[in-house]
Symmetry: C2
DNA sequence: GCATGATTTGAACGATCGTTCAAAAATTAA
DNA sequence: TTAATTTTTGAACGATCGTTCAAATCATGC
């Protein structure tokens, strides 16, 4: 049985190798399409080691999701708390998406794979409750609270809906599916995350303002007119 | 071998039963977690019939995606062509998302399952090229063109990015993952699609206007300020 | 250095997988 | 009705799946 504490360095290294390989393969094909044999082969370890460190297989998937969640959550909270008291909505959204962006860009290939895993988890009811809500809702609550403070006259529900749209746009973006590359005939590249992110911030901020009665400062009113 | 034309009614009914069961199960657990035996058991037919009508298994998944795509595409194009020449951006977006909304609400349970399948397909590189681009890009091109006409001073790339965010918000919405129910402590319900849709239209329209220099009529300029 | 416990190995378990096939049944065409 | 074709059946194929286990190896504390 594996110990709960770091235990031996060798064992920890094996754990990480398995997690890396699992993350890489889960990102490409999903949970069920990847066998423990494929993972341990990719990791260069024996099959039984996967069952020694992670049992059942679902626990390995959970560990993959959990591993980078705490770092991401910490970075998001730090960015949120570093905001100026009167920080605009774009800055709040950036405090949420920015840490994911910088990790996808400069955090090594594991983060790109992680983003694809998260896209699968966030877009299926099957995983949402046990993985998405469990590991990301505490931080999400902090951001929703900050957004509510920034948009004091907005209804709470509308902030939640806006956050929901934000999650949808963010997850499909960092997953880099490549569809927009084909649709735009090469004009846009899914891999050009920096450019996408620069568009995503004003897009989402304007969306939030539109569904709220006011952002609490300018008193601007969102457009109503659709048939 | 199955005939390409409708052939016998009995065979067509069997095909539809298999497709219905496959759609239902794929929606819940994904392609690889669902076996042909589970599908044929759910459909109440023999295992070998799945391999008679659809071989290999991937062809069944493709057929599930394709089945409702043509109806959805036709409804979207009809809504697009029914728009007034000076229809606002919200109306264009509604012509795209409205047909999916009305089918999820009143099209029978199959459409809700279909929406969950599409969310998986749209959010993974694994499926995007062969399924998403193949069946939905022609109509997407028409909507992008219409949006460009409505936002004539916008750069083409920005319209594509906006469309990309729209797809992300739409797919996670219709998938009804339930996360927002938990996050909002019951204030918001994923199943309340009509309410979500009413928020989504102004949210996305404002986002499009923000990342474009102008919407071609009011000349309004999107906010720039983020740190 | 020895004993204890953690880690790794290699093999095997039963179950389920996608796919194939020949024969039976049902339908259509003549 | 007879003949041709499509659809359905039931059984089986080899392969791979997640999981288990006893034995071997390694590292550590006494």
């Amino acid at each position: 049985m594996p110990t709960s504490s770091p235990a031996r360095p060798a064992a920890t290294a094996t754990r990480e190798r398995i997690l890396d390989a699992a993350e890489r393969l889960f990102a490409g094909a999903g949970y069920d399409a990847v066998s423990l044999r494929m993972i341990t082969r990719e990791a260069g370890v024996e099959l039984a080691l996967a069952n020694y460190h992670f049992v059942p297989k679902l626990e390995l998937f959970r560990a993959v999701v959990e591993r980078r969640a705490s770092d991401l959550n910490a970075a998001r909270m730090a960015a949120l708390e570093a905001l100026a008291p009167d920080a605009p909505l774009e800055a709040i959204i950036d405090a949420f998406s920015g840490p994911f962006l910088s990790r996808s860009l400069h955090g090594g290939p594991g983060w790109k794979a992680y983003a694809r895993v998260i896209a699968q988890v966030a877009n299926s009811e099957r995983w949402t409750h046990a993985l998405m809500s469990a590991y990301f809702d505490p931080v999400a609550h902090a951001f929703v609270a900050r957004m509510r403070a920034r948009l004091p006259r907005a209804r709470a529900e509308d902030i939640y809906w806006g956050f929901h749209f934000l999650i949808g746009a963010m997850t499909i973006t960092f997953a880099e599916t490549g569809r927009i590359d084909v649709l735009s005939a090469g004009r846009c590249a899914s891999s050009d995350l920096a450019t996408i992110h620069a568009r995503m911030l004003p897009f989402l901020a304007a969306g939030f303002r539109a569904i709220c009665a006011s952002d609490g400062i300018s008193g601007e009113t969102g457009r109503q007119g659709h048939e």
